[in-house]
Amino acid sequence: MRNDDWKKVSRLVSKKSLWMVHFCTGCGAMEMPPVMTSRYDMERFGIAPMATPRQADVLLITGYLSIKTLKRVVQVYEQMRDPKYVIGFGSCTINGGMYWDSYNTIKDLSKYIPVDLYIAGCMPRPEAIMDAFLKLMEMIEKGEAIGWKKYHKYYDQYKRNQRMAFSYRLDEVQDIKEDDAK
């Protein structure tokens, strides 16, 4: 069996076993229980909630992220093992949503960690979530869910953006910008 074939098989099987760690940051977490329980039952597709990022394949960001929470999210994301995928829930992760003008939340999640898939809506319905998972499976099978590769490749950029977000003093931000200029 060639290496490519092996990878294909591996992806084919892996997509049927997505273990997720859902980071209950915002209101989106509210939508998870219906997805897990008997009405929608995502375990049909081999998707199961996990307790720690070490065990998980998918990170769900279920809503807005404050700066402080982002720190934790980055930590969790880095503790997950490759291949790993991120799904952003709702408009908050896309453009800040209703917190678009808050000083304390991030606006675009993909600046800080690579997001494979966004679910639009405020809030997205369980059907949308199910759809997102199916879409993610499709992407995995095709080899399109490459967020984790992007993170490795553009690691410095992601780190810079994270540092910018974490700095609460203007002069620090200035320093980072000056570093970039060099």
Binding site: F23, T52, P53, R54, K71, R72, V73, V76
Partner: protein, 617 residues
């Protein structure tokens, strides 16, 4: 030859005392001196047909040594039982000294002198063939232990040791004297005991006196205090070696002198004498309670001490059951305990040597810093918990089989559950000291300490593969008691109930490990630092404010359940007795009022009483 060996040891005691300022030279002298008696004994054993390479064959032991002391005669002879225990003591003792050579820095001369004296006393006990010799050397050993305890300087340790040691001595003395009253002799060989009540009382007293040293509950009170407040090399020898002497004595008196038929003459229950049955029940209780108490300790030394108490209980169970299977199991357990407990105490010493901490909750993460110490301790813990990849399992297995064979319905579950309890405290040591958050950046223990520990691990490996060799060693002892040795080959031990094949276990384990290793090595891995740990995403910079070591109050739910029942039971009883004695003492003290007129009146009253007594008479 053996007297010369004793002489050399005494000489060495004086020499090491003089070498107080040169600890390393003193250690060397002590180690050499401690090896000499072993050679002397082996040569003596050689005269009697034992030589080291063939020590596994069944042997004849005859000639003895008589030394007239005036008020009494010392009779020394080497017996199979003595030989077995001598091997244990004489191998663990020099290694404890080797460990001490880098461990003990202050007042080293006194340390080695005390150690040599304990060794001298214990040799004498093992060779004794009459009650006087036994008692004399027993007490020499006993007070040299006291001398070592004094070095620790802990009040509870000193008081509890000396009072319990004294209790033990007096019980022994009483017992010997009662036997003398019955038989008119102190010679073990001439003691022909009858089935009278006096003999029963005497034997019970002797066994109780020996049980003090064997740390059987409720006479174990001294052990945790002494074990936890003395220097580790000494404690390793005390717990590993000297505590066995109590069980040596029990075997000697119960089976060597009294004999099974005499014990059975006081009544039997399912072919086990009531005497033995009681001992087995006490042993089972000790095993269980010792284990429960060990689980609750935070001080590493106290934990190991209670663990010793618990493990020694198993030996008592074996001696109590008294079948060939049980006695072999008891001897095997004695052998194992000698080595694994010595290793554990030494490992605790090595940890202390590097970190200066005894509390389990204050240690942590030393497994990566001191890997060889950790591995030695891990192996000893496997033996302690009777995991079948060490010799520890074979001993416990023999005891379980013996108990089932004799249908000990209530003792066996207690033994088994105590065995499970051992996992609890074993893991507490492993986690609290060696695993978890690395808190100390220390080096590996010095080479002398490592060598000592690993040489002590060696027998655990050897007798894992060849448990039959212990049965070989036990065979002459059993035949002396008129019992058949248990059926065995070097690898397989067979009982009426089942068989245990070590080779099958070892090969199957190796195969399984190989498979899992292949499975495991399939994918590459990277090693991450300890800080990269999942704590709900808390970033590492917060770690300096919180401890990630969950070792304090580790078994709190367990303590909530068992604590009220077990904590300080025997100790409380001892304190009450002491308080009663102090009450009486106060009464006696008040008689001496310090007033001259009172004293004069005492004399007058005494005179009047005497006169009155005489008048009435």
């Amino acid at each position: 030859m053996i007297l010369e060996a004793f002489g050399v040891m005494l000489l060495a005691v004086i020499v090491v005392l003089a070498l107080d300022r040169y600890p390393r030279i003193a250690a060397a002298v002590a180690i050499i001196a401690s090896l000499l008696p072993l050679f002397a004994l082996t040569s003596w054993a050689g005269i009697m047909g034992i030589s080291l390479p063939s020590f596994l064959a069944p042997l004849e032991f005859e000639s003895s040594l008589v030394y007239n002391l005036g008020p009494g005669t010392l009779n020394l002879a080497i017996t199979p039982l003595g030989w077995f225990f001598l091997l244990l003591l004489a191998t663990s003792f020099p290694l404890a000294l080797l460990f001490a050579s880098s461990f003990v820095r202050n007042r080293a001369g006194g340390f080695y002198a005390g150690m040599l004296l304990t060794m001298l006393g214990s040799f004498g006990v093992l060779l004794a063939r009459d009650a006087l010799t036994f008692f004399l050397f027993w007490e020499i050993m006993s007070w040299s232990i006291l001398a070592m305890v004094l070095r620790g300087g802990d009040r509870r340790a000193i008081v509890s040791y000396l009072s319990f040691g004294s209790l033990s001595a007096m019980l022994l003395l009483f017992g010997f004297m009662m036997l003398y009253f019955k038989t008119g002799t102190f010679l073990f060989g001439d003691m022909h005991l009858d089935t009278s009540l006096t003999t029963l009382v005497a034997l019970s007293m002797i066994v109780a006196g020996l049980a003090v040293k064997g740390a059987l509950m409720p006479l174990h009170v001294w052990a945790p205090h002494v074990y936890s407040r003395s220097e580790e090399p000494f404690v390793a020898f005390l717990s590993g070696g000297l505590s066995k002497l109590g069980y040596f004595g029990m075997l000697l008196f119960m089976y060597g002198i009294a004999g099974l038929s005499l014990l059975s003459s006081w009544g039997t229950f399912r072919d086990v004498s009531y005497f033995g049955y009681a001992l087995a029940v006490i042993g089972a209780f000790t095993a269980f309670a010792g284990t429960v108490l060990a689980v609750m300790q935070d001080d590493l030394r106290k934990l190991l001490a209670y663990s010793s108490v618990g493990q020694l209980g198993y030996i008592a169970i074996g001696i109590g059951i008294g079948t060939p299977l049980a006695l072999t199991g008891a001897l095997f357990q004695a052998l194992n305990h000698t080595f694994f407990k010595a290793v554990l105490f030494l490992a605790a010493g090595a940890v202390y040597y590097r970190t200066g901490k005894w509390k389990i909750s204050e240690l942590g993460g030393l497994g990566y810093r001191m890997p060889f110490t950790f591995l030695a301790a891990l192996f000893a813990i496997f033996a302690l918990a009777a995991i079948p990849i060490t010799s520890g399992f074979a001993a416990k297995w023999l005891l379980y089989e013996a108990a089932i064979e004799k249908k000990f319905l209530f003792v066996t579950p207690i033994m088994l559950i105590a065995g499970v309890g051992a996992f609890l405290y074993a893991y507490k040591i492993l986690y609290g000291v060696f695993l978890g958050e690395p808190r100390y950046d220390v080096k590996e223990a010095p080479i002398s300490q490592l060598v000592a520990m690993w040489l002590l691990v060696l027998p655990l490996v050897i007798f894992l593969i060849f448990p039959g060799w212990v049965a070989d060693l036990a065979a002459p002892i059993l035949s002396e008691y008129g019992m058949q040795p248990i059926p065995h080959t070097p690898y397989v031990i067979t009982t009426n109930l089942a068989a245990y094949n070590t080779l099958a276990v070892i090969f199957a384990l190796m195969g399984a490990l190989l498979v899992s290793l292949i499975l495991y090595k399939w994918k590459p891995q990277e090693v991450v630092p300890h800080e990269d740990n999942y704590l709900a995403g808390e970033p590492p910079e917060l770690y300096e404010y919180i401890s990630m070591h969950a070792a304090s109050n580790y078994y709190e739910p367990f303590e909530d359940v068992f604590g009220p029942v077990f904590r300080r039971g025997a100790e409380r009883a001892w304190e009450i007795i002491l308080a009663a004695a102090e009450f009486l003492g106060n009464g006696a003290r008040r008689l001496y009022t310090g007033l001259t007129q009172d004293y004069s009146i005492y004399i007058l009253l005494f005179f009047l009483i005497l006169v009155g007594w005489w008048l009435l008479w």
